[in-house]
């Protein structure tokens, strides 16, 4: 620990980890003489790939600070190799997850809501630090994130009825259109909304049976990395969601160019990066969802089904009718 404090001092201008600072204040205010202050146990934040929690293969980390520039943690700075590993893990998970029943996927997503609900205080703290919110505001964001999982949990076995159906062709044929998952979707999560925005882009991808490689908010990746722990304990099969922290542009490039990625959500990219990545994604004709042209999205609004249908293909099956 002395090692860590000396590091913090070397950093000069930056204050100590917010949590410790509070405790230090508490010590000052409480006149307890004998017992030494208990030092908190820091968490080593890690990537989430294939159901495991690796460090970046590159060995790199970068500093994550709160909205007042206080040091929060060192997050892994994932490399393009980590991105490729994540795609491999996501691809491996496709048959099982897309082949699961919609009811089963719904239960798994609901389980995520349950696990997140149980850790509301932790996430409220992390979101408050990440986004500079008051405790009440942060709690409301976490509640909305839990409810968003519930919303999408309910959609898994309904979307096919809403967007698919029988087609009345002019001939003796049975003809049915059904939505199917596109496959592996790379998601650049929104930069500003570190938890609610993240959940709002990831849940619809996996609700329909796709698997995801998610690049967390560059500035505020900690809620995303913690959400990995929720996913890992919610019966979400390994590889269905893979979470990378690091630099959005550095990770977006290999994901946009990757020929085994089928869809690309550019929500967290600025206009220039989005254009570059869309060009790159044309190589294998990825389905691309452009960032909102109207600025940051309102994550509290009714999400509709657009983020579900963005990652669905329509398959139409014909069969003759006859005796």
């Amino acid at each position: 620990m002395s090692d860590k404090s000396s590091k913090q001092e070397k950093r000069g201008g930056k204050a100590a980890r917010a949590e410790d600072a509070e405790q230090a204040d508490a010590v000052v205010e409480t006149p307890v003489a004998a017992a030494p202050t208990r030092l908190s146990v820091f968490k080593t934040y890690k990537l989430y790939v294939g159901g495991k929690f690796p460090r970046s293969e590159s060995g790199r980390v970068y500093e994550v600070t709160d909205s007042t520039d206080k040091w929060l943690a060192n997050a892994p700075q994932a490399s393009r190799k980590d991105a490729r590993d994540a795609v491999v893990a996501a691809r491996k998970a496709v048959p099982g997850w897309s082949g699961a029943t919609a009811y089963n996927r719904g239960q798994v997503l609901y389980r995520v809501a349950e696990m997140l609900e149980g850790r509301r205080e932790q996430f409220a703290r992390e979101v408050a630090d990440a986004e500079g919110l008051t405790p009440d505001e942060a709690a409301a964001v976490v509640d909305a994130a839990v409810d968003r999982w519930v919303w999408y949990a309910g959609w898994t076995d309904k979307i096919a009825q809403v967007v698919g159906g029988a087609n009345p062709v002019a001939g003796p044929f049975f003809n049915l259109s059904t939505p199917e998952p596109t496959g592996v979707v790379a998601v650049l999560a929104p930069q500003e909304s570190s938890l609610l925005g993240l959940v709002s882009v990831v849940a619809p991808v996996i609700a329909t049976g796709n698997t995801a490689v998610v690049v967390a908010s560059q500035r505020a990746p900690l809620p995303a990395l913690s959400l990995s722990e929720v996913l890992a304990t919610s019966d979400v099969p390994a590889g269905v969601v893979n979470v990378l922290s690091g630099f959005t542009a550095e990770l977006g490039a290999p994901l946009a160019a990757h020929l085994d990625v089928n869809g690309l959500d550019l929500t967290g990219a600025d206009a220039e990066l989005a254009r570059e990545l869309e060009i790159s994604a044309a190589e294998n004709l990825k389905r691309v969802r452009r960032p909102s042209a109207a600025g940051p999205e309102d994550w509290q609004a009714d999400p509709g089904v657009e983020r579900l249908t963005a990652w669905l293909e329509t398959k139409t099956v014909w069969h003759p009718i006859g005796v």
């Binding site: 809403v162 087609n167 002019a170 294998n284 452009r290 249908t309 398959k315 139409t316 014909w318």
Partner: protein
Amino acid sequence: MAFAYAPAPESRAIVDIAPSYGLFIDGEFTESADGRVFKSVSPSSEEVLAEVARAGERDVDRAVKAARRAFATWSALPGAERGKYLFRIARILQERSRELAVLESLDNGKPIRETRDFDLPTVAAHFFYYAGWADKLKYAVTGRSPMSGTSGPDPKPLGVAGQVIPWNFPLLMLAWKVAPALATGNTVVLKPAETTPLSALFFADVCRQAGLPRGVVNILPGYGDAGAALVAHEDVDKVAFTGSTEVGRSIARAVAGTRKKVTLELGGKAANIVFDDAPIDQAVEGVVKGIFFNQGHVCSAGSRLLVQESIQDELLDALKRRMSTLRVGDPLDKNTDIGAINSPEQLARITELAAAGEAEGAERWAPACELPSSGYWFAPTLFTGVSQAHRIAREEIFGPVLSVLTFRTPAEAVEKANNTPYGLSAGIWTEKGSRILSVANKLRAGVVWANTFNQFDPTSPFGGYKESGYGREGGRHGLEAYLDV
């Protein structure tokens, strides 16, 4: 044994082709800005049918401006009124269908039996289908709240649609593009393919007869440069393209970072899977329809036959017998099964790929078949002993060439069927219902035909997975590509 057939030609007197045609912009035929023209040639006779103005960048700009001007009033029309224009167009197309079928066979080279019995009826049906949507759009979009779904405003059109279509089904591809665009209140600039511009120009006359307001539909015959200029034009809100995957990629790059909504309907290399319990005679008919329909110039063609090893000999014997009865020749002859290859360029590509099939070790077979002395022709051809690595198993040939591969288990069939960057269509032949459903679920393709092949209908969404493009045309799904949702 071969039956002797007397020629049974359809009269071409029903169609009056003018010696020259202009661009159709803002309700009038005009010359191109730089005065360039090109010739449209009948691929079955190499006869020049007409000289056609060739659109360039300035013409594209003129047409987009006309479409933009027309958009304000067209999109403001009540849906029911827009729909009535489309109903009129559908009816006029039905009235003029024989004329247009003959024209299409002349300009494209496809048999009159197909233009008369498939292309034209489906064209009219497409307009009729989308006509009825024009005043029901609020029911067409998923994910709207019940309140806005039934009583709120109509979903909004996008604006000007730039549409680029191929030469294999010239008028049908026009219908697939134009009908949903107009029904939703968009206006259109359409570029037909350089080898088949005539039916689109006749369609301009149909629009005139229907009284369609000027500028709502603009038609720009031309080459790839005009298509590229249209796609790149900054006042185009929607791009719809049907054609090769290579051009599709370049379009996807060109629209990157713009607001343009895009649908791409690209190439395919469909597997037609025949299991050992399939009804062999029906399967053979389906395989023939799958690959020899429209000379194999079909993006959804069943160009890879996957046959279960145990019935390979039986199936191939029957298939070869059937192929020997296919009649190749004059597209206007009502007995013709296989018409002319659309262009010398396409013939060269088919010839080159077939030669590669032989060079790579596959065994080539074609029935004895006399080809006409003028025009562009390719006999129906079958390759056996094809491996998945062969070019003829991987690349889209877009001609009457079938590659035969074998499999032993359903899992192997699915694996091989999906082993392609394309994902447009697939076929399954088996009498076992549970196998159909299981295999159909596993095939990565937008359209799966079970115990049938190459069926199309305006109500049925069509479009691909993977590198066969994105978006759907046809059905309710086809509207979403033209609405701001």
